[in-house]
């Protein structure tokens, strides 16, 4: 029972089944029922699209225009003021250098934690899937359980370990914790992918030279293109969108963009500049949205495989 990501089963397994012939669409003519369904779907699509629309138009308005109270109206004069302010001058706590600080922190968190988490879990998944390790089953089951553990129960120990290692309160602390927390799920995904590699390939590889690392570099790595891209997208979006780990381990100097944004929108003193808030929200949302609209299919594969991450 240790070898699954259940959602992957619910999705991955069943997609494959469906390549069976599907009976052709009956008629091209639009029936009454079709129209009703399409109207309903369009209304739902509006429900999903409205918040994005409101955020976009608000971010291009001036505060005077916002105070008129016409939330859905397009911006009178379009202005980039709020965007400029959000990027360059918005305050997060006592720092007023804008979201660009958080943006670069997020990038600085993203790169090392991607390298760490992917390399660690790839090698582990490979070793568990293709080599004879006696306690592999137990270890996999343990990882499966770890993937579900709520963060709060390991929060304080991790804080105290990272401060012993002198990385608490920096982008490195956040990056390392991300790598640690992602490890169980990623190992399970990699292991599931590698276990389908035919035995014959492995036996042949072992006969022919085959040390552990040479097989990994020369055979396994070149075969891992697909899964790597899916995992890369999964990790980029989930690390970029994370708030909790960033706010816990980032201290004052290592806060990712989401933390800056949260500080900005929850500020309770002074007049609230909604246009700046919305510009800041969009700036934070743009990187994952770009990925989503470019490679949506891979994104969906990633989140369903990583769904057990919750």
């Amino acid at each position: 029972m240790s070898d699954l990501t259940i959602a992957q089963k619910a999705v991955g397994g069943e997609i494959a089944v469906r390549s069976a012939p599907y009976f052709p669409r009956r008629r091209k003519r639009i029936t009454g029922r079709s129209i009703a369904v399409l109207v309903f779907l369009t209304i739902c699509a509006l429900f999903f699209a409205v918040p994005l629309y409101v955020v976009v138009v608000t971010s291009f308005k001036t505060m005077d225009q916002i105070r008129e109270g016409a939330m859905f109206a397009p911006p009178g004069p379009w202005t980039l003021e709020a965007w400029d302010y959000a990027w360059n001058r918005a305050c997060s706590g006592i720092n007023c250098n804008g979201l660009k600080v958080g943006f670069w922190n997020s990038v600085a968190i993203l790169i090392p934690s991607l390298i760490l988490s992917i390399s660690l879990s790839m090698v582990t998944g490979y070793a568990l899937a293709l080599w004879n390790v006696r306690w592999a089953g137990t270890f996999l089951f343990l990882l499966f359980i770890c993937a579900f553990v709520p963060f709060q129960i390991i929060m304080f120990p991790l804080i105290s370990m990272t401060s012993t290692l002198k990385v608490y309160g920096s982008v490195w602390g956040v990056a390392i914790v991300h790598a640690v927390l992602a490890m169980p799920v990623l190992v399970l995904i990699f292991r599931n992918y590698y276990k389908d590699i035919p035995q014959e390939i492995m036996s042949a590889a072992i006969m022919d030279s085959g040390s552990f690392w040479r097989i990994f570099l020369e055979i396994i790595l070149p075969m891992s293109g697909n899964i790597l891209i899916v995992i890369l997208i999964l990790q980029i979006t989930s690390i970029w969108n994370d708030y909790l780990i960033g706010v816990t381990f980032g201290g004052f100097n290592g806060q990712p963009m989401t933390v800056n944004l949260a500080n900005l929108i929850t500020i309770s003193t002074g007049t609230v500049a909604y246009n700046q808030n919305m510009a800041a929200a969009l700036l934070t949302a743009i990187p994952p949205l770009v990925i989503y609209f470019l490679v949506g299919k891979l994104f969906v594969q990633g989140i369903t495989a990583g769904a057990i991450k919750g």
Binding site: I6, A45, S121, N132, F139, Q152, M183
Partner: protein, 298 residues
Amino acid sequence: MALRWSRIAPQLALTPALAVTAVAFVGSIGWTIYLSFTRSRRLPEYTIDWSEWGRQYQRLFNDAAWEISLRNLIVLGLGSALAIVFGFILAAMIEREKRGESFFRTVFLYPLAVSLIVTGAAWRWMFNPELGIENVLHQMGLTFVNFSWLASAETAMWGIILASVWQSSGFYMALMLAGLKSINSEIWSAAKLDGVPIWRLYIEIIIPMMKFTFITCAILLSLGVIKAYDVIVAMTLGGPGQSTYVPAYFTIQALSASGNLGYASAAAVMMLVITAIVFLPLVLLTAWQQRRRAESVR
């Protein structure tokens, strides 16, 4: 397949992952459980007073805020279950009506790509009492409508549920769509021949056939609800008052705002217990599914 001389390398390669699991997960969980029996305040204390080791838990169960958190957890869970229902309806419609499938899928799923802080920011703005949707509706003459949900303790949870449903429906739609597509297409033509009305087909045949997909969705949803934190921070910060506290938020407040480590540890242990309660059926379900598959192979 492993030869004797190649025994060592794989074991060595597993050491880092094993160390991480042992220290960051197993060890840390034990550490937190231990701390929950101590009287640690801001800094950890490691002496346990055995005469009242359950002190923190006792306090927890008498804490009104914890009670609110638990109640909100259930409310949020039941409310977010709408996302599964909604996701199923969307998936069923997309699946029957092939036109525009990829367009609708893209629109329904994009909220998932965005941070919950962003989602919270957007909805917080739409719920704004003076300038938000309520104001627009009032201007249209619908002055009886109340849409500033976040402003009052009774409705604030509903605001959070709406935002969560908006964010996650697309995900359940994707899972349901995969489930629907795996259903044998002959059922549709058979039902058509028999003249079975379409809604009966769904209720009596399709939904029972998809029960594993539904259970999977329900478990994923529960686990997500237990972890709900970001959306609370972005929308209400637990307020008004403590009306939107959930266990995840409560625990972190106890640790970082009140600096009460022992107390926060007890709350975290309770979160783990709740997770285990949800998680257990998943393990059983998986085991059962595998046994069934093994039997069908035989």
